[in-house]
Assembly symmetry: C2
Homo-oligomer: 218 residues x 2
Amino acid sequence: MADEVILLDFWPSPFGMRARIALREKGVDFDPRVEDPRNKSPLLLETNPVHKKIPVLVHNGKPVCESLIIVQYIDETWGPESPLLPSDPHERACARFWADYVDKKIPVIGAVWASTGEAQEAAKKEYIEGLKVLEGELGDKAYFGGDRFGYVDVSLIPFYSWFYALETFSDFSHEEECPKLVGWAKRCMQRESVAKSLPDSHKVYDFMLELRKKIQAQ
Amino acid sequence: MADEVILLDFWPSPFGMRARIALREKGVDFDPRVEDPRNKSPLLLETNPVHKKIPVLVHNGKPVCESLIIVQYIDETWGPESPLLPSDPHERACARFWADYVDKKIPVIGAVWASTGEAQEAAKKEYIEGLKVLEGELGDKAYFGGDRFGYVDVSLIPFYSWFYALETFSDFSHEEECPKLVGWAKRCMQRESVAKSLPDSHKVYDFMLELRKKIQAQ
């Protein structure tokens, strides 16, 4: 019997994009179910009762939650011939460290696009500092792990679809601040798994503009 | 040549304790180096330049940072006959989920012991709610993974050494709120790896009392 793979997802979510990219890297057919954050489905509440958040991967009825854990699960379950994590334990620990770094630096993005004035400037500074650390780690490599697209790339590339919105709301250029990182992002976008999984930047901007209006009206 | 294993550590740190427990579970001899948080060693700054935090495991000169990543590295490097993570990918994802849950709920502990009044009450409420979710997940099992001490146990048990201090500062009883969790903690403490790695609760209390005075004086 074929695997039943359902992905509970929401299109502008970078965390959902991670799961989409990993599944496509492994060539896994999946049934994407778009969730409404204001009206969560019974399946979402049942499969992620603790956090009640997308993404959730439901594989033959068994749920896996939290995007980086989902990506590791996908890597361990399908396509051992095209691993996302390196086989060497120390290299694997380094990959986990940088994906974790991305997750630790992400919360500040909210303040870059949703806040204004001094709070926005402080958030922008922190965000760019975080990106520069990642740019330093990338260096002159093609991908974070070297020549192969892998786990750290999957964890970070979804945010590329937010770059245009962040630049427009907060008046700076990723290209000027982190040229190597933008080069890396363009390289990643040449992969079908990434190109098919990231939404159009202008659509993300329109979505965030609407959300920003709602937040600021509150 | 024998492995050189150095652990940069600080005795009251639950994150450091995780690494100590995992190394002892695997029977790995290690050289514990106690760091002074106010005067970090050149080795710490060199091996963890991004976060500049303990614990850092330095294995034959190669550093691994972030406690849960260290525990996974230890599990993948030594003693495959006594694994901390389950071999089944879905069970492994579940173990990672609960260890991640512990890490997401931990920050509130700071406010339980360091704050006062309403802020402390709110933090205590959030902390106990988090523990009750963990108690629900534990249920009637001996350990989080079933009959075997494993990854989730390693991630959570260090905080048992803080229970006495938290109760004294914030006036509640873990035993009353979460009796099964306290039973589990006592069971874990019967393991040599845990008993040798957790400091005395009263020593932790004295340390936190001093630190609390300094914070409140600022």
